[in-house]
Symmetry: C2
Subunit: 332 residues, 2 copies
């Protein structure tokens, strides 16, 4: 049987257990030209919260009673004259929160798991890694010697952003929640410093670690931390708007950055990005990132939980901070 | 005698009559290598409000008991072996709110008033015009066919921004306060439409006049209008942050743009600008703008009031909207 998680209602604020419902269906059969994939790992991402809103965004909302959208990696178990994929192939794509699905293969890519374990393909070599790569290089436009500040520094995107910036010769300051995460960010990932926003004053921390100001701020969180970063921009600074996790569960309007006029004072740029725009360059980025991993310059970690039944509990870790690196749900 | 307006205290919120004090001094004598200028016209600009704050900005604050900073144009009445300037020359620069001043000439430029009247040199051919020119072309990066939205459309900067965008083949929608100003913006300046924010719903107005969204928004005002514009950005839109007149007199923190995540959804850019950065290109811009004026493609207007004694009363027109085009104080 095929367990599927469907969206039952649009959450107001944080989702609750009854936002979704786990249902059971027959395992699908492939139509002519289709394959059926058994999902092994499901990617859990803060962006999921946005996909549940009815508001127009960069991607259509998940419809009520549809399977919850998610990035996945899994193995082809049935094939019906598919032109490219055969049984045993490992595919990554938008499989959704379910154990099995049929697909004509659009939006799914075959990957080689002989060298790289499956979860990595939905982590550092998947959306979060691609987001980090194109966000910091193409939008952040880092150059050697830049002082780079990264929020969510122990997370799937931020951890990679900071390491790429280090590889490119920047000095890098992270922001993360808790002493343990900060220790990880500095000692394991090699950031120059990390500010613990749960126990330190964020303004004082930025002032201490970026005494001359910030050249590039990579924002995953929004809210007060974005404002604190804006207050210390250098001339011609770049602010990359990648996400705003502190605001996603707001019941009222988002809090806007009250220090946005720092953009004027410092002739700075704030630019939004969506990784999907770089799809035709994922391969280039993946090869580069794989190389850095093999050279030991890029460390990535997955935090793996088990069981599709535990989706809601695991999802909550995205927002309460109780995870490190890429959050993954193992479903086989 | 020389009447000078000095800053007596830093205003909290809007300035009041006792923010400044008018004092009388001797007319200065030029030292060796100096000239003395008699000011004819003083430029009144919303940016003046910012210069009175103690906060670090793109220019140092005016010190307490210093002459209030202002752009000026006037005539050399005394000279003491100045290498470039002689009696009778007309100079524009940072003369401040006073009738006479001595200068070594740094930051002052000689202009030709045989074709162009003096006030134009502190208006469309001065800071506001330069701001409009470089803001919309270099930061807004307009291209033919763009839908451009401009706030403060009847003002010194906005009126020029919109006309340049029209010259470049964009369709242009203004935002201004009151039916009369809107009529001026459309019928005299040639904008395609103008939204009267005092009598119309700004969200509905933008939706009506920019049905496919906004490619470039030139922001002089901040606050609710900035938020309304952000809500209707097109993909890859550019938001030029030139000023935030609605926020300058806030007693509490500035209101940040709560719709800033539209930058992410639409891969858009919000960039601040300060005209001083383009000083080495003022001449190029001035020649182009002068040409457009002679061709009748660029209409500019000055709203001139008289008497240094009336500075405070005239200054208030910047913020209560009771003026059109460039606000100028005639002091001779």
């Amino acid at each position: 049987m095929n367990k599927q998680l469907i969206l039952k209602k649009r959450p107001v604020g944080a989702p609750s257990a009854d936002t979704w419902q786990l249902i059971t269906n027959e395992i699908p059969e492939p139509q002519e030209g289709e394959v059926v994939v058994q999902t092994h790992y499901i990617s859990l991402d803060p962006a999921m919260r946005g996909w549940m809103n009815e508001t127009k965004s960069y991607i259509p909302p998940v419809a009520i009673d549809d399977v919850m959208r998610a990035g996945t990696i899994g193995k082809v178990i049935k094939a019906n004259n598919h032109p490219k994929f055969k049984i045993g192939d490992v595919l990554t794509g938008w499989g959704g929160v379910q154990q099995y699905f049929a697909t004509d293969g659009k939006g799914h890519f075959k990957v080689d798991t002989s060298m790289v374990p499956m979860p990595k393909y939905i982590g550092a070599l998947g959306m979060p890694g691609m987001t980090a790569y194109f966000g910091i290089l193409e939008v952040g436009k880092i150059k050697e010697g830049d002082r780079v500040l990264v929020s969510g520094a122990a997370g799937a995107v931020g951890s990679v952003v900071g390491q790429i910036a280090k590889i490119k010769g920047c000095s890098v300051v992270g922001i993360a929640g808790g002493a343990e995460k900060c220790k990880y960010v500095v000692e394991e990932l090699g950031f120059d410093a990390c500010i613990d926003y749960k126990n330190e004053n964020i303004h004082a921390g930025i002032k201490q670690h970026c005494p001359k100001g910030i050249d590039v701020y990579f924002d995953n969180v929004g809210g007060e931390i974005l404002d604190a970063a804006l207050a210390r921009l250098r001339m011609h600074a770049r602010v990359v708007i990648c996400g705003a996790i502190s605001q996603y569960n707001n019941k009222e309007a988002i809090v806007g950055p009250k220090n946005y006029l720092s953009l004027l004072v410092n002739r700075a740029t704030m630019q939004g990005m969506v990784v999907l725009d770089y799809a035709d360059r994922y391969k280039e980025a993946g090869m580069q990132m794989g190389m850095w991993m093999m050279q030991g310059k890029l460390k990535t970690e997955e935090d793996i939980y088990e069981g599709i039944e535990n989706f809601y509990e695991t999802y909550q870790r995205l927002f309460n901070g109780d995870k490190r690196g890429k959050l993954v749900l193992k479903v086989i």
